[in-house]
């Protein structure tokens, strides 16, 4: 293993630095990459699949991780600032996150990675792939954000911070009830994660809103097999936006997932995993 990697001291012992009081359980660990401690779920075996979550974060109990782990070794970190992962003070852009994950793949010596990202995670994945595909075999972008398609007065991506929870859920999900949360019934630690996720999303994507003006012009550099998955009921961004994304990546396939909105891995986890694994296994 690369000398810079400091794995959390066994998966049961004292975890690292700032999260010293946190229980690290089962297949969830803290790892340090270039001094930044992040929470990572690892499950399954075989070729590596790096899963990059959207702005709502990823819970270790998310069904999609189990479905994916039937075919591959899933590595699902919480981005710096999200979940229980540290946030270095200097990190404030998706570009920073993309370099962080290039470091993470190097630190874990991941090769022939299937890189999967949803929404914000799709944006990060694209920002990684335009820099280097040396460790990547395939790229799956699910309802990715991160590019500007329309003119300056056209809002490509819903202004989620100007919406009530009900309005946001109606635009996000095929079934808006999926997005409802009863925070009063949740453990404080989980509510704090939700609060951290919301703040971290704004830190990385407040302005330019949910995109990098340069990214569209760099997507041509991605020369690995790429699949755009699109939850068909998404109204955070339109299907035309997703198709424009795919059109900018040479040879990218575009597939829709029905009965799912902006987070198809949440609303159709099994189908989502099937599509990803089929794409990852294709010759």
């Amino acid at each position: 293993m690369d000398a810079r990697v400091k794995p959390a001291p066994a998966k049961s012992a004292q975890p690292v630095r700032r999260f010293a009081r946190m229980n690290v359980i089962a297949d969830t660990s803290m790892i340090a990459v270039e001094g930044v401690n992040v929470e990572v779920v690892e499950r399954g075996s075989g070729s590596p699949l790096l899963f990059l979550h959207p702005g709502i974060g990823i819970e270790r109990t998310a069904p999609v991780l189990d479905h994916l782990a039937r075919g591959v070794r899933v590595i699902a970190p919480s981005h710096p600032g999200f979940g229980r992962s540290e946030l270095p003070r200097w990190m404030n852009s998706v570009d920073d996150l993309s370099y962080f994950y290039l470091d993470l793949m190097e630190a874990l010596d991941l090769r022939d990675v299937t890189l999967v990202g949803v929404s914000l995670g799709g944006w990060i994945a694209a920002a990684i792939a335009v820099k280097s595909t040396a460790r990547l075999a395939r790229l799956v972008l699910a309802n990715p954000l991160g590019i500007k398609v329309g003119d300056r007065e056209t809002r490509d991506i819903a202004d989620i911070f100007a919406l009530t929870d009900d309005e946001l859920n109606a635009l996000t999900y095929f079934d808006p009830k999926v997005g409802q949360r009863d925070y009063k019934a949740m453990a404080d630690a989980d509510v704090m994660v939700a609060a951290r996720n919301r703040e971290a999303l704004a830190r990385f994507a407040w302005s330019p809103f949910m995109h990098d003006p340069k990214l569209k012009h760099r997507l041509h550099r991605i020369r690995i097999p790429t699949l755009i998955l699109w939850g068909a009921a998404d109204r955070i961004a339109s299907e035309a936006y997703g198709r424009a994304y795919g059109a900018a990546i040479p040879g990218a396939r575009f597939e829709t997932i029905e009965r799912a909105g902006h987070f198809p891995h949440v609303e159709q986890p099994e189908l989502f995993a099937q599509r990803v694994l089929a794409f990852a296994a294709a010759p």
Partner: protein, 395 residues
């Protein structure tokens, strides 16, 4: 004690037809520029009257709102720097964490200080949550941006030996050398506002004038946090002139008439929070810990009356507002007593930011309010000997 006349420069004609939001997204077709012009001139006239009466002047700005038409505090500052003769001009404040260009802030404020011949009090503020969708500055990390802007402005105002270089986290300049430099040396007095104990302590450490707005009989804990910060730097307890309080004021010879005016001024409180829900708490405006408590349904600290009762400022009676120390209202004797009682409770409060106009209070009522206050209350407040609290109040 100094008393600063303040109005938010509201546009009440739009208050009855707002569809749940007076700020950010209320379409501006609801403002008639002709009526707005009349109102602006009226408010400036009332500040000129305040100057004649021996009162000082406070100006602020908000954005995209019928609660406060003034979106650029530099405009009334400029007019009043030239047209007033003696009043201190407090801007509370410049939302420097939002501004794209702190160099411009330093130039504007220095010029105002010079034109007014050293009458500027320079307030720097974080801004209310609803300002972020307007400015589009990231609410996450806004205080880091605020303090860098603050450091830059002071450096620009106090550097007299030629251009300096600034390559910070947020702002970049290579040849900074503002003209003119400020009249007051080393720079105009710095003020700020807060509602949090942590920030109050920081302001105390720096020794800046700290204002709280409408905090009533919940103010003392903030003042005590300031005192802790102030003495932690090796100073004696802060004098009353380090503290400011924004209170509504309605005075009349007849108590019933004063209460009628108080009810009109309180229109400010009843409209200030009418804003589309998502704009009330942008991500990062509150800490993760505070947001966690909010999501769990725990309410933030509330304004309390003298007897500890929680008072809802947006809906309560004039009498409740008086008992909460939010509104000073009655005959001149009563108003004097209420303010003195509040100062004693605070352990010293030397700057009353007097909302002598608010809501739909007419010009005639406002002029009478200011005149009566200046003639019959202000002289006694100027004579009043403030306490200087050394220790926190008993809980």
């Amino acid at each position: 004690m100094r008393v600063y006349q303040f109005t938010e420069q509201p546009y009440p004609p739009a208050w009855d037809d707002h569809n749940g939001s007076l700020r950010v997204n209320l379409p501006n077709r609801k403002v008639d520029p002709r009526i707005a012009a009349d109102l602006f001139h009226r408010y400036y006239d009332e500040w000129l009257l305040a100057d004649e009466l021996g009162l000082d002047i406070m100006i602020n700005e908000h954005h995209q709102t019928a609660t406060c038409m003034c979106a650029a505090a530099i405009v009334p500052l400029s007019i009043l720097a030239r047209q007033t003769r003696r009043a201190r001009l407090l801007v509370l404040g410049y939302p420097i964490g939002h501004r794209p260009d702190p160099l411009r802030c330093a130039e504007e404020l220095s010029t105002i200080d010079v034109v007014s011949r050293g009458r500027l009090d320079m307030g720097f503020i974080k801004g209310v949550p609803y300002e972020f969708p307007c400015s589009n500055q990231n609410p996450v990390g806004v205080m880091d941006r605020f303090w860098e802007a603050h450091d830059f402005i002071l450096k620009a105002m106090t550097t007299q030996d030629g251009p300096f270089n600034w390559e910070g986290e947020f702002f970049h300049y290579r040849q900074v050398n503002i003209w003119p430099r400020p009249w007051q040396q080393p720079h105009p007095p710095i003020w700020s506002t807060t509602g949090s104990r942590n920030n109050a302590r920081v302001l105390g450490e720096r020794g800046y004038v700290m204002a709280t707005l409408g905090t009533g009989y919940s103010t003392r804990v903030l003042y005590d946090a300031y005192r802790e910060g102030y003495v932690s730097k090796g100073r004696k307890a802060p004098a009353a002139d380090r503290f400011a309080y924004l209170g509504l004021v309605a005075v009349a010879h007849d108590e019933a008439e004063a209460h009628r005016r108080g009810d009109l001024v309180a229109g400010y409180l009843r409209t200030g929070a009418i804003v589309h829900v998502p704009f009330r708490n942008p991500p990062g405006f509150l800490s993760v810990e505070d947001n966690t408590r909010l999501l769990k349904g725990q309410s933030p600290p509330r304004t309390r009356a003298k007897d500890g009762r929680v008072v809802d400022m947006r809906a309560c009676s004039v009498q409740d507002l008086i008992e909460a120390g939010v509104l000073f209202c009655g005959t001149p004797d009563q108003v004097y007593q209420q303010i003195v009682e509040f100062c004693e409770y605070c352990g010293g409060m030397g700057n009353l930011l007097m909302m002598g106009h608010g809501g739909r209070l007419s010009h005639d009522d406002t002029a009478d309010n200011l005149t009566l206050f200046a003639r019959e209350v202000l002289p006694r407040l100027q004579e009043y000997k403030q306490p200087v609290a050394e220790a926190p109040a008993a809980a």
